[in-house]
């Protein structure tokens, strides 16, 4: 049979057009009920991924559910995950943040599974404050991930050599920084080249100054983002920079360089989060202390935040298998494993007796247990705020460090973004 080439061409074009125009959410094509696709953020340490896969192999053996782990760099995760979930071809289970601009946006778009029933069925135990972060309109959608605190790590050897005590308020910190600088070292290893670090700098200074309730007031809108406390917290970092307490041009220094400065002993302190504990244990050959960022009138409070945790896609091929896998990820056994192997802390009550961890991690575990038990803690702004507020905050901290804006101007920009 002879088919005119123009007809073949037209048919091919129609097929291509149809393929290109087809969209929308459809159930995952993977009909194998014993197979799950699990997407996580790419760990910095390749060994951690290998260890996780080996650990999950234990679950696979027991449950008969095959879990295919895949990773994506954090920077690409947002765009790729959104696209995959919308196309219905995404992972069955994925690890993602719990803030309004992370999991909250997926909930709003109907892309994740309601887990309220699963919580009751499996009796998952999660700290109340953490559960609130994944609850939208009374329904629970995810399991909050690792519990992180943000504070100040300091090199005990440098402090001892210079005759300095652990800072107990902001004046102590300034005094220590002055002495460390006079000794030819960098007082605070601050890098803000990637800009997200600025969010932590503001979060810790502000949390200690206004307390947990004060932070809640900012998020609820009771307190304005250009209030004197926010301005003072922004100005504090600008003043530290002018006084030479930070590395030269901190907006040129990336996070890895700042941690390297601390590990090498070039810097005496580093303001960052508990996720650094594992690296400190591996790289620092000196004793390290961990304290909240000091408040003007006292020791201050740790800033708390939640890392990524598991969610189930609304189009998961087998939701029962996915829930079983989440039950494993939420278990006491897995929680202890993550503390010992990944040095991360699950936001759930757990028995820490007999854990094989470093003294520093042990201290962090104790501190975070207090947070879980209802102690006062601050909030990491970037997991609680909208993308617009985060963008304004990142730019604002960079701007005050470089002198492009005053603290008042930066705070006003954050306030404007919060109104959007």
């Amino acid at each position: 049979m002879h088919i005119p080439p123009l007809k073949i061409l037209a048919a091919a074009a129609a097929c291509l057009l149809a393929a290109a125009c087809t969209g929308g959410v459809s159930p995952s094509s993977d009909s194998d009920s014993k197979s799950l696709k699990y997407l996580i953020e790419e760990p910095e340490d390749a060994e951690a991924l290998k260890a996780l896969e080996e650990h999950i192999a234990g679950f696979e053996k027991k449950s008969g559910i095959d879990v295919k782990v895949s990773t994506l760099p954090f920077d690409n995760m947002r765009t790729v995950l959104q696209t995959q979930l919308r196309s219905g071809e995404g992972p069955d289970v994925f690890s993602w943040g719990s803030g309004p601009s992370f999991g909250g946006a997926l909930v709003k778009a109907g892309l994740v599974q309601d887990l309220t029933g699963a919580y009751k069925k499996y009796g998952w135990k999660v700290f109340d404050f953490a559960k609130e972060r994944v609850t939208y309109d009374g329904k629970v959608y995810g399991i909050p991930g690792e519990l992180e605190s943000i504070g100040l790590f300091y090199n005990k050897k440098i402090f001892a050599d210079l005759g300095l005590d652990q800072p107990r308020n902001l004046d102590d910190l300034k005094g220590a920084a002055k002495a460390i600088r006079a000794a030819g070292k960098v007082p605070l290893a601050v890098g803000d080249k990637e800009a997200w670090e600025g969010g932590h700098l503001l979060s810790m200074a502000l949390s200690s100054a206004v307390g947990g309730d004060g932070m809640e007031a900012l998020f609820s809108g009771e307190k304005a983002w250009d209030s004197p406390e926010v301005v003072a917290a922004l100005r504090l970092w600008a003043d530290f920079n002018k006084a030479g307490y930070l590395p030269k041009s901190p907006t040129s220094v990336d996070y890895d360089t700042s941690t390297a400065m601390f590990f090498s002993g070039e810097a005496a302190m580093i303001p960052t989060g508990s996720w650094l504990v594992g690296e400190i244990d591996d790289n620092a050959d000196f004793e390290v202390g961990y304290i909240p960022f000091p408040a003007p009138d006292g020791p201050g409070i740790f800033t708390g935040g939640l890392g990524s945790g598991p969610w189930i896609s609304a189009t998961a091929s087998n939701k029962q298998a996915a829930e079983k896998f989440l039950d494993f990820l939420q278990s006491e056994e897995h929680s202890r494993w993550t503390v010992e192997n990944l040095h991360t802390i699950p936001p759930r009550p757990m028995d820490t007796a007999g854990l094989d961890v470093s003294p520093l991690l042990s201290q962090v575990l104790e501190d975070t247990a207090k947070v879980g038990a209802g102690g006062d803690f601050g909030h990491n702004i970037d997991v609680m705020a909208s993308d617009a507020v985060n963008e304004a905050m990142y730019d604002g901290v960079q701007a005050v460090l470089t002198g492009q804006q005053t603290a008042e101007e930066a705070a006003a920009s954050i306030k404007t973004a919060a109104k959007q």
Partner: protein, 329 residues
């Protein structure tokens, strides 16, 4: 092989009646009907893949993009609300867009002129070098072969304030007072990134100009020298007119690159500090993928395209005109 320019210059009688030249009619007239049909079918099959690719990868995304600029799509909503020209109105009033556009203009002016000046200068210097010319070509072209991401990362280390070798060199030669955080200082960050981009582009410009110089009539250059023309005059009046189409082609490529610059800025500064190096490309990206404002980001991307098209068309026409006048290598 003869270039189009020289072929047209060598056939002035055809140039006099270009509109009446229809060689395909001549071929058709002497070809049997069956063969003509077979040729037509073959032609359709030959162009079909390209037509399909253009349709799928260019036309459909373009139509899709035009749709998205008139709705408010956040990346999730399958049925985004129609907002008409709101994205354009917001764009015109957005001070960050104008700040980014200003950086693009700086990039276009310096990022176009500097590689051409350095590339042409190097090409003229190496033009008559016989020994080691391959080595020079490889050495100068190598940066252009490297991925922009790798270039950005390495230059990021070079610019690093305390450990980067740029500041160390400055300190070593007694210019320590000039040392600074090049990428973190809003006064220098854009120029530091631009410097890296120029470094990476000069090799490309150099190689293209060097190839063009091979076709320059050396007798004319020698005659000009005998007539007392200095080096600059020889370059301006003898060499440049002969390589003008190539010169315009290189200018077009580097100039359009200034409109669409993204990767190297994104890798080296991410548009920071506090927007000091933001260009339209990075602003479109952050709007679309960091703030989930896909429609606004698409509008910005479309505007970048629309702004750059007249320049591309104008340069192309100029290049064509000069070719028809018989200028060029």
């Amino acid at each position: 092989m003869t270039t189009g320019a020289t072929a047209e210059a060598a056939a002035p009688e055809q140039e006099e009646t270009p509109r009446r030249r229809r060689p395909w009619r001549t071929i058709k007239a002497g070809t049997p009907r069956v063969t003509r049909k077979a040729q037509a079918r073959l032609g359709v099959f030959m162009v079909a893949p390209l037509v399909a690719m253009v349709a799928v990868f260019l036309l459909l995304p373009m139509v899709n993009a035009i749709y998205y600029v008139f709705v408010d799509f956040n990346g999730f909503d399958p049925d985004p609300p129609w907002i008409g020209f709101s994205n354009f109105t917001e764009l015109a009033q957005d001070p960050d867009v104008w700040a980014a556009f200003k950086n693009n203009v700086i990039w276009i002016v310096i990022g176009t002129s500097a590689p051409i000046v350095f590339g042409l200068g190097l090409a003229v210097l190496v033009w008559n070098v016989r020994r080691g010319s391959v080595l020079y070509r490889i050495a100068f072209f190598l940066p252009f072969m490297l991925p922009q991401v790798a270039v950005g990362v390495v230059w990021g280390w070079i610019y690093e304030p305390s450990r980067g070798w740029l500041n160390r060199v400055l300190e070593t030669v007694g210019l320590g007072s000039l040392a600074k955080g090049w990428l973190g200082d809003p006064d220098t960050a854009l120029y530091a990134v631009l410097g890296t981009a120029i470094w990476a582009t000069v090799g490309f410009v150099f190689v293209i100009f060097l190839s063009a110089l091979r076709n320059v009539d050396v007798d004319l250059v020698d005659a000009a020298r005998l007539d007392g023309a200095n080096a600059f005059q020889r370059l301006r009046h003898i060499i440049l007119p002969q390589i003008m189409p190539v010169f315009l082609m290189v200018t077009t490529i580097t100039l359009l690159g200034g409109f669409s610059v993204f990767d190297i800025v994104f890798v080296m500064t991410g548009g920071g500090p506090a927007g000091a190096t933001e260009v339209l490309g990075t602003y479109a990206y952050s709007s679309a993928f960091q703030l989930n404002r896909i429609s606004y980001g698409t509008t910005l991307a479309l505007v970048i395209t629309v702004i750059s098209i007249p320049f591309a068309v104008w340069m192309n026409r100029l290049q064509r005109k000069l070719s028809l006048q018989g200028m060029g290598a």
